[in-house]
């Protein structure tokens, strides 16, 4: 029996139809995945179910009764809970205190919460210290707190909006296991994602959305993953390149590296980046980078694999000139750039696609044109005043070349999708002159499949024109699909290296977790 029955749901925002005639039943005890690219309407659908928005047409029936929530409070009351992409936890309060928020009746009873947490831990494996402060927890642990908050009230339906986007691989596994546990206990789970691998591991059924419509609903047993990708992106994956298939993580179908690269990379060129004995100690004296040695040659893509927090972020910051190494040396194309300012590093021919797009790569309140020329604001000036028409022309040309889609170069960066923002950042960094080396840190994080493909193509094109590329990523599939070599970082050191053709998930995974074998 369907616990939630949607029929003919339509939601418009102004002239834009976000959801068009959605009919769907969520069964009791199932994990139902919503799959689709960014902007396909997944989040809007969740928000309708959770009462954040109200549908313009259509009805919802919850357990046989009409369901027209006037707000999240009503949805909660009827047993629907939701974990949003952005957490709503108070950082400087403890886990137990956060769980009590919003359910505080006349008398607060912390013991009751702790007892209930114990029950949930036993039932679902949701272990967490009730006294830990939220600000001390990792992202995965915070999400666990959100899920506990949802399960406290014994809900009927748990909605998770892109829960895995922020998680590390082992945390994703734990989350998916929790989803199964929840479903086993007769509750239903709606899981929003655009990662196919997760769907294969957890979903009972999957509904594919594209441009606000349901393309198909598939029972996962014996389903053809490739067909799902096709419905999701609306074209054949093969034509989009094998990169795409790898990006969406189709288990066991990652093509062998040698087959993917018919053309031999022009590798083994001269070294464009040489890092020797790099050590970085943080404010607490902890060695985040602990004697790292790395060489990137021209015309090759070197991937850095590793569990997050093993020094990748620090390496990225140092290469960008935003942090100074404690000891060690960095040379780019013969120029020493250790301890140099970002400007000097740029002048040496280094392009940087930083890990944190919003904090470092661009200024979202400024226009696209201003962001495209953020490092060269004075380039378009006349009598000391900005020549905005010249800048607009140059920006338009760059946007055409790099397929940055925006209505005009003058709209704010914030109005662009994540994919187009990243394309703009790539456009800026790849247009630097001189340019011998590119660092791309987590370049596809949060992007949809189409944009991921575009980013890969740009990175490969950069390699083919002779750049050395360092790709730092937490997505193993991404590294295996794009890199010519993969080095594994563990506790601030490179512990092993594999070259194209000999990539294996198992070997890399073992090294990532510290079981070094070279």
């Amino acid at each position: 029996m369907a616990i939630l029955e949607l029929s003919g749901l339509t939601k418009r925002f102004g002239a834009f139809t976000a959801l068009d005639n959605i009919s769907l039943g969520i069964e009791r005890g199932e994990v139902h995945c919503l799959l689709g690219e960014n902007g396909a309407g997944k989040s809007t659908l969740c928000n309708l179910i959770f009462g954040v928005h109200r549908p313009d047409a259509g009805t919802m029936v919850l357990s046989g009764e009409q369901f027209q929530p006037r707000g999240p409070a009503e949805a909660l009351q009827r047993g629907i809970v939701m974990v949003h992409q952005h957490f709503s936890l108070v950082p400087n309060m403890s886990v137990a205190e956060n769980l009590m928020l919003g359910r505080a009746s006349a008398v607060l009873k912390p013991q009751d919460i702790i007892v209930r947490m114990g029950q949930l831990a036993a039932e679902y494996g949701l272990e967490i210290d009730p006294d830990a402060l939220i600000e001390d927890l990792s992202v995965g642990e915070r999400q666990r707190v959100e899920i506990i908050k949802c399960l406290l009230g014994d809900p009927r339906l748990l909605v998770l909006d892109e829960p895995t986007a922020v998680l590390q691989p082992d945390e994703i596994d734990a989350l998916l296991a929790i989803c199964r546990q929840v479903a086993l206990r007769g509750k239903s789970v709606i899981l929003v994602t655009h990662k196919l691998g997760e769907i294969g591991r957890v979903a009972d059924r999957t509904t594919v959305l594209r441009q606000g419509r349901i393309i198909e609903t598939v029972t996962m047993e014996g389903a053809d993953m490739r067909a799902l990708v096709r419905s999701m992106v609306g074209r054949d994956v093969q034509s989009a390149g094998s990169v795409l298939a790898a990006a969406v993580d189709i288990e066991g179908k990652v093509p062998a590296k040698s087959a993917m690269d018919a053309v031999d990379p022009t590798s083994s060129g001269e070294a464009v980046l040489q890092i020797s004995d790099l050590v970085y100690r943080d404010a607490h004296g902890l060695a985040r980078l602990d004697g790292l040695n790395l060489t990137v040659g021209s015309g090759e893509i070197v991937g850095i694999a590793g569990v997050e927090g093993n020094g990748q972020t620090e390496l990225g910051l140092i290469l960008a000139g935003l942090a100074s190494p404690s000891t060690g040396a960095i040379v780019v194309g013969g120029t020493p750039v250790t301890d140099c300012t970002p400007q000097q590093i740029t002048d040496a021919g280094v392009g940087i696609v930083p890990e944190d797009r919003h904090a470092v790569a661009c200024i979202k309140e400024l226009s696209v044109a201003e962001n495209l020329f953020l490092g060269a604001i004075g380039k378009f000036s006349r009598f000391g005043l900005l020549d905005k028409s010249a800048r607009r022309k140059a920006a338009e040309a760059m946007m055409r070349e790099f397929d940055v889609r925006a209505s005009s170069p003058d709209v704010s960066m914030a109005s662009l999708s994540g994919g187009n923002q990243q394309k703009a950042v790539l456009a800026r960094e790849l247009s630097l002159d001189p340019l011998v080396f590119l660092l791309a840190a987590q370049p596809t994080r949060g992007l949809d499949v189409g944009a991921i493909e575009a980013v890969y193509n740009r990175i490969r094109a950069a390699r083919d024109r002779g750049l050395g590329v360092l790709l730092i990523s937490s997505e193993l599939e991404e590294l295996m699909a794009v890199s010519d070599r993969i080095a594994v970082i563990y506790r601030g050191k490179l512990v092993g290296e594999l070259s194209a053709g000999s990539f294996s998930r198992e070997a890399i995974g073992a090294m990532m977790s510290g079981h070094a074998h070279v």
Binding site: T341, P354, A359, I363, L366, I377, G384, L385, L386, K388
Partner: protein
């Protein structure tokens, strides 16, 4: 070769004023003045008499118009300084202290040597010295921010608490700026500055006190507008204020921009202080600024970063100030009523930003 497109620059160079942005302050002012009338009525004074006196004080004669405009000049300069720092997301609330420094050093320069300089340098030098003193005072806050991360709201405010007693000290001490005690005067104030150092009047024949500070302020308005909206520096200041890390990554020297923004901002305050002494008061007293720094801050706040808005706000507050002084003298209405009206205007405009912002985000 392409001929420099000045016409194009000029065409693109529109003041960024949208109708709603003008209407909201106007309506706010009308509502606030209406409430002011009610308050006047409740004090028992003649409302018509008060309004008459108010109008007379604002613009009843050439002299009054000139005095009102002179007040607006100082307010506009402080307001410009505020929006200049604001472009870099810095809040300079130290206008009062920067005015004090500017006025004090301008007086010192005028009394000690500048008076004998030829070719108008007699008043230009004190103006420059006053500007530099204000710039130093603002730049100090900028330096603290860049080097130590000190919040500029706190540092500019506290620097004002240092500057104001410094002025007091200078007019209290005979070895500094205090004039010798005579039969006529024993007040703690400086001697009058030499005539050559006083700012030339624009209309010396009709008795208007309006001086060339008006031209200085006009140039400043255009300069600030060009720099903030149409120069690479304006974009850099904005970028640094919005996201220092991204700006640093893009090669900008963020600390330098913070210090620069605060220095220029303080310089405008110093210039305002110098003009107040050289243009109107002609001698230094310990309380010569009497709130222009804070009124200028409000002008800057209400302008929402637009130079044109600063002009409108400065004129409004300058004329209100003149009117209220006269209303107190001739109609026996407490000038506090006008202060209440000013407060109401600020609150209503600030509250109405919700309205305009909502419109803008659609």
């Amino acid at each position: 070769m392409k001929i420099p497109k000045f016409a194009e620059v000029a065409r693109g160079a529109r003041f960024d004023v949208r109708p709603l942005q003008v209407m909201v302050p106007v309506i706010s002012t009308v509502i606030a003045l209406g409430i002011g009338v009610l308050i006047i009525a409740s004090t028992g004074a003649s409302v018509l008499g008060a309004i008459d006196a108010f109008w007379d004080g604002m613009a009843g004669s050439d002299f009054n118009i000139g005095a009102s405009l002179n007040r607006a000049i100082s307010l506009a300069l402080v307001g410009l300084g505020f929006i200049f720092a604001g472009r870099a997301n810095l809040t300079n609330v130290g206008g009062e202290g920067q005015i004090a420094m500017g006025g004090m050093f301008a007086t010192a320069a005028a009394l000690h040597g500048a008076g004998d300089l030829p070719l108008g340098l007699a008043f230009v030098v004190p103006l420059v010295v006053g500007t530099a003193a204000g710039a130093l005072w603002g730049g100090l806050a900028g330096f603290l921010k860049a080097a130590r991360g000190t919040n500029e709201v706190i540092s500019t405010l506290l620097l004002s608490f240092i500057a104001l007693p410094l002025v007091y000290w200078s007019v209290e001490s005979f070895h500094l700026l205090r004039k010798p005690i005579s039969d006529l005067s024993s007040l703690p104030e400086s001697p009058e500055i030499p005539d050559t150092t006083k700012l030339p009047l624009l209309f010396p024949d009709n008795g208007s006190p309006l001086h060339i500070g008006l031209l200085i302020a006009a140039v400043a308005v255009v300069a600030v507008w060009l720099v903030l909206k149409h120069s690479p520096l304006g974009v850099r200041l904005r970028a640094v204020g919005l996201n220092a890390t991204a700006s640093r990554r893009a090669g900008m020297r963020t600390s330098l921009h913070v210090v620069l923004a605060m220095t220029v901002s303080g310089g405008f305050g110093g210039l305002a202080g110098a003009i107040m002494i050289l243009g109107q008061q002609f001698y230094l007293t310990s309380d010569f600024s009497s709130g222009y720094g804070f009124d200028g801050l409000v002008v800057g706040l209400l302008s929402r970063g637009s130079a044109a808005g600063v002009v409108i706000g400065a004129l409004l507050f300058g004329f209100l100030r003149s009117g209220s002084i006269n209303m107190e003298i001739s109609a026996n209405v407490p000038s506090a009523v006008v202060l209440i009206c000013q407060g109401l205007i600020v609150i209503i405009i600030a509250g109405s930003t919700i309205l305009t912002n909502r419109k803008a985000s659609r």
